[in-house]
């Protein structure tokens, strides 16, 4: 017994200890899987839509309704946007250096770069 007790946390039992006495494998039916959508919710008038999470739905109409049922059960929203996740384009964090760091060089954009003569005040 002792030998295979390793340190696991709640919700983190390793896969080598089967959860079921039998393993029944089944193919995933692609025709029965719905695409993933990202949900953005405006929590009250005057605020931006904010990413709330994602969900699955067969189409946009259903995605909006699912978002209502899943993400606004406690009156969290006044407006919902959904977009199919595959249409989201993103920066690549590996290129973060080329993407953001050049801006870090351009300190001339910051006013403190300029060492003004003492005579000039309040610029």
């Amino acid at each position: 017994m002792q030998s295979f007790i390793k340190k696991y946390y709640y919700g983190d039992i390793p896969d080598d200890v089967a959860g079921s006495t039998t393993v029944i494998s089944k193919e995933i039916n692609k025709d029965a899987t719905w695409p993933l959508w990202e949900v953005f919710i405006r929590s009250k008038q005057g605020l931006d839509h904010k990413h709330a999470g994602s969900l699955h739905a067969a189409d946009a109409q259903m995605a909006i309704e699912n978002a209502r049922d899943v993400y606004t059960r406690r009156n969290e929203g006044v407006s919902i946007w959904v977009v199919e996740s595959k249409y989201i384009h993103s920066t690549n964090p590996d290129e973060a250096e080329s993407f953001y760091e050049p801006a870090a060089d351009k300190i001339y954009r910051h006013p403190t770069f300029y060492d003004l003569p003492d005579a000039v005040k309040h610029m």
């Binding site: 709640y10 039992i13 896969d15 959860g19 006495t21 719905w34 059960r73 964090p93």
Partner: protein, 315 residues
């Protein structure tokens, strides 16, 4: 440090409490650990709907029925948030669920115990949700961004779960002799399995604790378990009930409660599939999924047809 020493940069981020986001570089083992942990957590929420869902139809008052429905529904929501954060790591929900249904993946063994009386709804809320909350509050600060955000949302919603459980027990404890007996019986049956939810003792591990180093977890099993025992040992007094442990007593030196030894044989047996309800729980999940297949298929087929029609109009 070399700018391209990814592992070192990664650990540096972790150490400086910068959250890891989906597209960031991460060690394979970190990704795998997360997928395993988040999916098990998700499965636990969804399988966890069953023992309580079992009593929705028999709830003893309309108010209790409404509360229980809302609570079990919340768990579906929590499962959904967690499957979503798992998807950010590159595994589809369908694949994750498939692992559960095939018997490959795990869920918390607590849900393999049967709910025999109404009092079990109280005991689950108080003890099982109570144990889960300690774990989840800690996980709100976990290093992986999407997991942490899901946990924040879950903890917010979860706050009423433990209270409603305690409230059920409290009402029973003020009731008839039969109700009091029902209350004590449920506490007796759920106490030890709840302690097992925190996992094996720290001392029984000789592995280096990678999860702590990666700040996926921030407290050890024993720390959380002790916190739980200390909390419950006090709360049970309010109920005028007892916890089924002869060795439970306040230790003035440690300023904590001492408690008895957990039956680890039982723990591993339930984990391995020999719990009283393992089969029923998995069968119920498989059945729901299998019987829903034609529904999901039809909705998808209809969406395709409609998209086709719209294109036609546009052209």
């Amino acid at each position: 440090m070399d700018l391209h020493d990814f592992p070192a940069l990664f650990q540096q981020k972790i150490d400086s409490e910068t959250k890891i986001e989906p597209l960031d570089w991460m060690p394979d083992a970190y990704r795998k650990t997360l997928i395993r942990q988040i999916s098990q957590h998700a499965h636990s929420e969804v399988v966890g709907m069953l023992p309580e869902g079992n009593w929705i139809s028999r709830a003893p008052s309309l108010k209790r029925k409404a509360i229980l429905i809302a609570k079990v529904q919340d768990e579906a929501g929590h499962g959904l948030y967690l499957y979503s954060s798992c998807e950010t790591l590159g595994t589809s929900r369908e694949a994750t669920i498939n692992d559960l249904h095939s018997g490959k993946a795990k869920y918390s063994s607590i849900f393999n115990y049967p709910t025999l009386t109404w009092a079990d709804m109280g005991a689950i809320g108080w003890l099982v949700d109570g144990a889960a909350i300690l774990n989840q509050v800690m996980l709100c600060r976990t290093s992986y961004g999407p997991y942490a955000r899901a946990m924040v949302r879950i903890c917010k919603e979860e706050s009423f779960h433990q209270r409603q459980g305690f409230d059920i027990l409290y009402t029973l404890s003020k009731g008839t002799d039969e109700q009091k007996a029902m209350c004590q019986d449920a506490i007796n049956r759920w106490w030890w399995p709840s302690l097992m939810m925190f996992g094996p003792k720290d001392s029984e591990s000789n592995n280096t604790d990678q999860s702590m180093k990666w700040k996926i977890k921030r407290k050890t099993n024993d720390e959380l378990r002790q916190q739980f025992v200390d909390m419950c040992a006090e709360q049970v007094k309010v109920l005028n009930m007892t916890l089924p442990d002869q060795e439970l007593k306040w230790n003035t030196e440690t300023q904590h409660y001492d408690f008895g030894e957990i039956n680890w044989d039982e723990f591993w047996n339930v984990v391995k599939g020999n719990g009283p309800c393992n089969k029923e729980r998995l069968d119920a999940r498989r059945k729901a999924h299998d019987e829903g297949e034609w529904v999901r298929e039809a909705a998808k087929a209809y969406a395709k047809k409609r998209a086709g029609k719209n294109k036609h109009i546009a052209a």
